[in-house]
Symmetry: none
Subunit: 403 residues, 2 copies
């Protein structure tokens, strides 16, 4: 292709009154339960999703390409139309923008875990027993505000044992290794430069870690920290400009809000759960023409290997759907950013079911929303980056291509 998909959208998009809701059930795709042969979605009682599937059209999407297991950022970027191989973001930067930290050009951000170390310094619990949010905030307070080699350090809590460190100063470079060894029973690693220009950043980081170790010494179980994912804020083109949309994000988890902000969405108050999210949607319905609604529970249950809980989260969502449908969007898309089969207890490469409901879709023979049914859906199997062009088309927001 000489014109990439975003460029095509930029050329064809035009404002309209049509409204799009993109409902992302994180980690939606699954694998069959060994006893029943049915996936989580197929097991769930979902009369509303099934009705949408019957009236609309379905298919299966590959987030990156067949066989590739995507991280959450890659998955969401693909669903927003950004080729995840081209538009990448480091974990530290993502986490920082996700807690509303105003990451500036030149800043380097890292993701941190408070962890437990034994008397020899060996990591015994990479998550420090998942300390509370309050405890995390208190410990971040102990570490925040250092200046090392003329570099200012910000330490901010994220959730449970997780926090971020942001380094702000001249000549920083994110090309440094992680201190997180990713396994218990070993020492945290010394941070080292991966490129010649990153020696200063490595040195500052190691000094910070040494200082933090002293400050945390008496704070068992959170008596040490691990850093990873050093990165800068990426510069993405925004959805407003690409699609001529006024987009808004409603997501309880900070990372997804951060990601939405990076692509130019307004961030609305999500409250604490699905009910709040729907209230926010209704309260802001007239002010935007694109809503990204995020439901995390499906992924969390899958990661925990809890098949039944994933089924329950899907059923809870299904019960709430009529309220969402009543807002009357011109296009409603329900899909996931990747599969998280409970039997694999983690993200997987399996394609994700998608349903598209709109007055203008060409219905297919699908009568239910499930992996197996979607295999023969009218949308076929396609790339997740085509979701946005399809949403735009069905909302009559794209002009004709070519003479």
């Amino acid at each position: 292709m000489t014109m990439d998909s975003l460029e095509l959208m930029r050329n064809l998009a035009q404002p309209s009154t049509g409204k799009i809701i993109l409902l992302i059930l994180d980690g939606l795709g699954g694998l069959p339960h060994p006893d029943t042969g049915k996936t989580e979605l197929e097991t769930a009682d979902t009369p509303n999703l099934n009705r949408l599937a019957k009236e609309g059209t379905t298919g299966l999407i590959d987030i990156v390409s067949p066989g590739i297991t995507p991280g959450s950022a890659a998955g969401h970027l693909a669903l927003f139309g950004y080729d995840p191989l081209r538009f990448t973001i480091g974990r530290g930067a993502l986490e920082a923008v996700g807690i509303d930290f105003d990451l500036k050009p030149g800043d380097v951000a890292a993701r941190g875990n408070f962890c437990t170390a034994d008397k020899n310094g060996l990591v015994t619990d990479r998550r420090a027993g998942r300390i509370t949010n309050e405890e995390c905030a208190r410990l971040c307070g102990l570490l925040d505000g250092m200046t090392i080699e003329n570099t200012r350090l910000f330490v901010r809590p994220v959730r449970e044992h997780r926090f971020i460190v942001v380094f702000r100063g001249d000549g920083l470079n994110p090309a440094v290794s992680d201190s997180d060894p990713q396994q218990p029973g070993v020492l945290p690693r010394a941070v080292s430069a991966l490129k010649p220009g990153a020696a200063k950043t490595a040195s500052i980081t190691n000094k910070f870690i040494a200082q933090a170790k002293r400050l945390l010494a008496g704070q068992h179980p959170a008596n040490m920290l691990l850093l990873r994912g050093f990165s800068e804020r990426p510069c993405f083109p925004v959805m407003t400009e690409i699609y001529q949309l006024k987009p808004a994000a409603i997501a309880v988890y900070p990372m997804y809000r951060g990601l939405a902000r990076l692509v130019g969405m307004d961030i609305l108050d999500p409250g604490t759960g699905l009910e709040d999210e729907l209230k926010t949607l209704k309260a802001n319905y007239s002010a935007y023409d694109f809503f990204f609604l995020h439901v995390k529970g499906t992924d969390s249950a899958g990661e925990d290997g809890d098949f039944e809980r994933k089924v329950s989260v899907i059923e809870e969502l299904d019960r709430a759907l009529p309220e969402l449908i009543d807002t009357g969007p011109d296009v409603l898309i329900v899909t996931g950013d990747h599969s998280t089969p409970a039997v694999l207890k983690g993200h997987s490469w399996h394609p994700v079911p998608v349903l598209l409901h709109s007055r203008w879709c060409r219905p297919d023979r699908t009568t239910e929303f499930g992996e197996s049914a979607c295999t023969s859906g009218g949308l076929g199997r396609f790339s997740a980056t085509q979701i946005m062009p399809l949403a735009m088309a069905h909302a009559l927001k794209l002009t004709k291509f070519g003479a």
Copy 2:
């Protein structure tokens, strides 16, 4: 895409104990018999393939792209994950490495046929009545070892009427035309330079052909030769490095072994048929984690237009399958490198059925292995270059992409 598929594999692949078997039935895909409406694969009685299809997932692959009929090398390269439009290899070079000829940088290799010419020099049989391997070796002995214009010539037998010529010297260039007219009833063609730098190679080749004509004059039916596919050894990245695999090839036909060697596989003794191939597989099972098993009979029968024989070869394979399955691979893929419908008597562009069997595949509704059933398989229709990423994923040999 800023990152191609091989680069993605390089970044995500990690060693694991999972084992992959890629079983390639050459020319597997077919077209319906006019009397029954069923293809060769659909006609064959294949309880074991059907069971694998039922437990696993199926689909259809395009080797190059829709409508394109691939050669065998392109087909196999695609199945090994190499974009066949980017990674190309000349027939001569392929044939040379296929008989263990140590082709060096700068060598030019051509494929040769002994043929029959009448008293006017017109070709009457392009294959010289398919002389025996022994006769081919004897004739190659007559021609081997010339030096022309300071260039050393190697002539080595391949199989039946087929042999190779390798030119070794300074300033050679493979950009010369074939002498093989590809049809009987005409004279062999004079070889000519296709690029300015190839005049010397064309001159040497024509002198060799003239000399060979004299030496073969009394050797009817093999009283002349035809050359084609002048080419150099390509330099491909190897599977070991791309996939972190320890790969082995089991293939009776030399060309497929040569191809496997070019992508870095170890070549195991294939014996003379399927039974030997399976013995070799079992004997070497613990030493490798990727096996390419090649079955040629499907293609040969298709090329001969022998529908029933192609059916028989598939049934023979099916009967042998339990022995292969008993080795217990984590991933078993059965597919072909292209279609060779008996009714077309040659390779074709039709997509090739594929089945993937693994503990981690998402089953679909397919209950048999055939072209028609695969149309609604869970893998959908996809590029053959995605077979390796899928195999790697299902063997749990890939880490997550992106944050």
